[in-house]
Subunit: 486 residues, 2 copies
Amino acid sequence: MKGKVVALLVAGSLAVGAGGTYAGMTMFSDDESPSLLEKAIENGTERKIGSSGSAEDFEKIEKTYELISEKYVDDVDQEKLLEGAIQGMVNTLDDPYSVYMDAKTAEQFNDTLESSFEGIGAEVTMMDGYVTIVAPFEDSPAEKAGLKPHDQIISIDGKSTKGLDLYDAVLKIRGKKGSTVKLEIKRAGVSDPLSIDVKRDEIPIETVYSDVIENNGKKIGHMKITSFSEDTASDFEKQLKELEGKGIDGLVIDVRGNPGGFLNAVQDIAQLFITKDDPIVQIEARNGEKQRFFSDTSKKKDYPIVGLIDKGSASASEILAAALKEAGGYEVVGEKSFGKGTVQQAVEMEDGSSLKLTMFKWLTPDGNWIHKKGVEPTVKEEQPAYYRANPITIEKPLTYDMTGEQVKNVQTILKGLGFNPGRDDGYYDNKTETAVRAFQNANKVKATGKVDEETASLMEQKLLEKIDSGKNDQQLQTAIEVLFGK
Amino acid sequence: MKGKVVALLVAGSLAVGAGGTYAGMTMFSDDESPSLLEKAIENGTERKIGSSGSAEDFEKIEKTYELISEKYVDDVDQEKLLEGAIQGMVNTLDDPYSVYMDAKTAEQFNDTLESSFEGIGAEVTMMDGYVTIVAPFEDSPAEKAGLKPHDQIISIDGKSTKGLDLYDAVLKIRGKKGSTVKLEIKRAGVSDPLSIDVKRDEIPIETVYSDVIENNGKKIGHMKITSFSEDTASDFEKQLKELEGKGIDGLVIDVRGNPGGFLNAVQDIAQLFITKDDPIVQIEARNGEKQRFFSDTSKKKDYPIVGLIDKGSASASEILAAALKEAGGYEVVGEKSFGKGTVQQAVEMEDGSSLKLTMFKWLTPDGNWIHKKGVEPTVKEEQPAYYRANPITIEKPLTYDMTGEQVKNVQTILKGLGFNPGRDDGYYDNKTETAVRAFQNANKVKATGKVDEETASLMEQKLLEKIDSGKNDQQLQTAIEVLFGK
């Protein structure tokens, strides 16, 4: 009887998982394939549930509930207490990817998912107790505003995120196109929080971008996958055919900043490049049983292929990167990836609340579990330092003999723009002043040698232009070189 | 029937609360007086419990429990899940002073309490999700190692405190006398965590220190209360009689760094100085009912009295400060206090676990609730900046043209030691170099103008000597001046 209840609960889940990721849900997840799901259900019904909590155990929960309800100094929302109990159980798992949504939050989430998706366009997760940016979407408001992977969101519109769960936080960040949300950000290496305004927009759900780059007489196909959602595999296949029709000499598969998505989406893409000899990925259940997923492709593509990853590449992106590297023997260029090696399944409760629970691990073709480790690139390449520059906050103009992080940031940006001040330790010396003057002269503003708001905003603008142009994408450049064995 | 269960639970509580605070429990709390306790029990039995959670509500908790137990990717500790549910309910209160201890933790705690207390000697609380120092005890290892109020403890012996509750953290910090615990500290205004080793010691439970200070021909009694525990009121009364026997001309009651304790202890002390015309404190229950506590003293002392507080003065200390100020009309010197305006009651469960629950607010004689606000001194006085200097961390010697927080810290310390470098913004200029040389010459080490480990440790030592001498206690000095109307 109890077994049956569990099975029913699990059976109700697939839709939520699928719907969620499809419409640009701001969580990354590998929802399992139907075959595994059915396997899970089967296990559920077959297994005896013998070790459940005894009646006395639950009685203690009830007594605490009554004590708090009756005696706490303020009036207590009893519904919240019960939801807190469920949240508390999920918290003991110490797994940022197992997440509980109460009925109201789940409903709001589904509403948002059904309409077109309006927000800031960033994937977030819960890390170290903070809502944390995994990666901003390509060309999203979040990216334009300067949000970076691993940024911790400490407040939203002036309200602390402390105690908010991930879903509540996401609902506060989302909102009508054109409206603005003010985020307070804690960034590693920056002691004062950054205040960043992001103007919300409609977030497109295209997940595959492709173009042909001409380089030394070769045609390189560059395919960027921004997340693995429902249509990603078919979009990818279609665009790859187009590239092949144009006669590409090589292919770069770029999953930088890609936070993941459906397991079957990445499987469908990986099997275009991986032959049937090696598993693409292995899914391991709690009992240690492993299910290996194989391609039915018998022949490799006749052009070279390179994967491209960075520390924002998570989950399904890491499955792809590991498959390319270990099963395909391809080079993978970039930075060590995020490190998420688990698979979640959403379970809808009868009252509309929902529990997204980590049920499986995934292992690389060689059987490695990359959780909290990440996939190492075969060829390391970082973007230049100015890619990681922060927005400049000007309280009073920065001038000679000042010191601090804002000066350091300006020095990094100046160097990135070709006006190298010779130091980037945050002390505003004579050479920094000279570099600022040179920048001001080149941009036809008064050469004061001081960084006021006007100069700061000009610096930020020029830097974004330089990054957006794509001409300085050092990682992509290296990937192309590696492609042809240089 | 249900009402009776609750009443029994509450009745079992007084011993734990009392035992806990008596033996130097590292939590600050105002345990209520028996009369109020009995009142609470009475309310409990009389009130109808009509609004408890329905069976279906608890069923959802049970289902989630089963789902996680059966399906989570790793083996699940089911006991931990149930404890998590209770912890989760307590967390929804968003009250750092309501704390749940499972049976094992509660037992370990009682063990520690019964033996003599060995640890680092600091009061801690949970703030913003971090174990946070309220105040180190006087002359404790924590104070000597340089721990400060509001320091956040982010790791203990290399293990993150994330996810630890307060009690677990305290048990890890405590340990055998002579052993060392390594704390990683996040301090406001310091971007990199500080690593601080503290050698544990036996922590004395004396809570009252008194001496006579001679100043301009006057004898000033200086009574310092470090916490309000079982014997504090009688110790205070005894030592006050001794001071009065020596013919003091005035009294400074010093509760700086005092994190609180028993409500009745502070009441017994306050009524020595407050007459029966005004309430010492008002205790407010959830239903808004207030109980006022009056003194039976009819005549004020014939010498002037001044209170002395700082931002480490919390809870019972704030009751005393507010009573002195509002009911006694005395001056209170120092800094705005911590801001804790609630009263907790420990409730022991049948299985040995314990819930410390906020059940009352306390209001000042005039009816103000100072929670999260603090008590404002009537005369503001801060200690000099060097009282707040941080331990110096030397990775490589600090030299000319360097910049950063360590340089800033050294500049603050140099100024405090009388070698003013003229700036404290963290840039190591020529004048800083000159000041370092002067310090080195005065202390007979080679005048390199660089701060290496030897010079840094000498600076720290000289600074601690200066602070420990007591001669530079600016707040106490001001309190003495205020005493005689200067």
